[in-house]
């Protein structure tokens, strides 16, 4: 009888774990979203200071980025990239990546296939990430390359990529905490 109770308990615990997937949310203070792009042939870094990541384990990944929080450690550049030629933050203050298709490619490695909406343009994007769990939290890291021309970032005069590179390397390191839903 004891074993039956225990087995039932374990099974129900297992099923509840499977049916109600865990929700995770980013902890802003310990998360970073940075990018690197060539400036006259040398890399220059930028970051988005405000963004959020919501993850339902192996089901859905949603990332929201406040584009106006962009910072490149230079007031002139910060002003220039907010302009209509670049991020155009007046019209497009937010970027969203949404994936409902997350594949495991290793024990802690995943790929989220989804759509990135940036500067009003939506394109399919694959986001590879690693999911490193510790006792209380999970560290989510990843790196991908985006083409700024896919999202019309940089007016036609910048199209050659000689001064400002076309490829933008984006990387993220996000601390995820278990989210308790009401």
């Amino acid at each position: 009888m004891k074993y039956l109770i225990l087995t039932t308990y374990l099974l129900s615990a297992l099923f509840s774990e499977l049916s109600t997937a865990t929700n995770w949310q980013s902890e802003p203070a310990e998360s970073e979203l940075i990018y690197s792009v060539n400036f006259e042939q040398l890399p220059i870094n930028g970051q988005f200071k405000e963004f959020s990541v919501d993850y339902i384990a192996q089901q859905q990944l949603r990332v929201e980025v406040n584009i106006a929080s962009v910072d490149m450690s230079n007031s002139d550049i910060n002003q220039a990239i907010r302009d209509v030629d670049w991020f155009d933050i007046k019209s497009h203050s937010q970027a969203v990546f949404l994936s409902d298709n997350i594949k495991a490619v290793g024990e802690t490695e995943f790929i989220a296939e989804g759509q990135l909406q940036l500067k009003g343009i939506s394109k399919p994007v694959s986001v590879p990430f690693s999911w490193q769990a510790s006792a209380e939290s999970v560290y989510m890291t990843g790196k991908l390359t985006l083409s700024r021309s896919d999202f019309s970032i940089g007016s036609p005069e910048w199209a050659s990529g000689d001064q400002i590179g076309i490829d933008v390397s984006v990387s993220f390191a996000v601390k995820m905490l278990k989210h308790v839903s009401e």
Binding site: F39, E40, S73, N74
Partner: protein
């Protein structure tokens, strides 16, 4: 042509370095003002790469000239009052200070502004400070003050050389030529 300067003549290294620096500075000043003035564009970024490249070249030439000067002699100034001689010495000393202060302050602006630089699109120039908006503004002001001082002294320097040549009809200007 002699290598070393003498009491009466400039050696060829001093002459070459003088005229090379002269040409570079006369390109560099309008280049800097123009690049600063125009709106953000690929051209503006390219012009700043040229400006920084020429600036570092001028700095190297200035150091080279100082070393060359310190390890040898320079021709004596002919027929001039002691006041004129003092003024000429002061002007020349200030020119050297500016040929070093301008590139260094520019280097600080670039580094503090977090802008990476590849001189002539070939050689990476390391940053000498981290990103720092306050330092950038300070260095930019110093750079501007220095360039106006440079223009003023160049006007006097060129004016004096022309006065020697056309009015006093002495060999001061010819002496620097080949």
């Amino acid at each position: 042509m002699t290598l070393r300067n003498t009491e009466t003549h400039w050696g060829w290294p001093s002459k070459v370095l003088h005229w090379l620096t002269a040409v570079l500075i006369l390109i560099q000043i309008p280049l800097g003002f123009y690049a600063e003035e125009i709106k953000l564009s690929p051209l503006k970024l390219d012009l700043f790469v040229w400006h920084k490249s020429l600036g570092m070249l001028i700095l190297l030439l200035a150091i080279e000239r100082l070393l060359w000067r310190m390890t040898g002699t320079i021709p004596k100034t002919a027929d001039a009052s002691s006041l004129q001689r003092r003024l000429a010495q002061l002007a020349h000393a200030t020119l050297y200070v500016l040929m070093i202060a301008l590139p260094i302050s520019g280097w600080i602006i670039s580094s503090a502004a977090n802008i990476p630089t590849k001189l002539f699109w070939l050689i990476e120039l390391p940053a000498i400070t981290g990103p720092d908006e306050a330092l950038k503004s300070l260095a930019a002001e110093a750079h501007e003050v220095c360039v106006f001082l440079l223009i003023a002294i160049l006007v006097a320097h060129i004016g004096a050389a022309l006065r020697h040549h056309f009015i006093m009809r002495d060999s001061i200007l010819k002496r620097m030529w080949f």
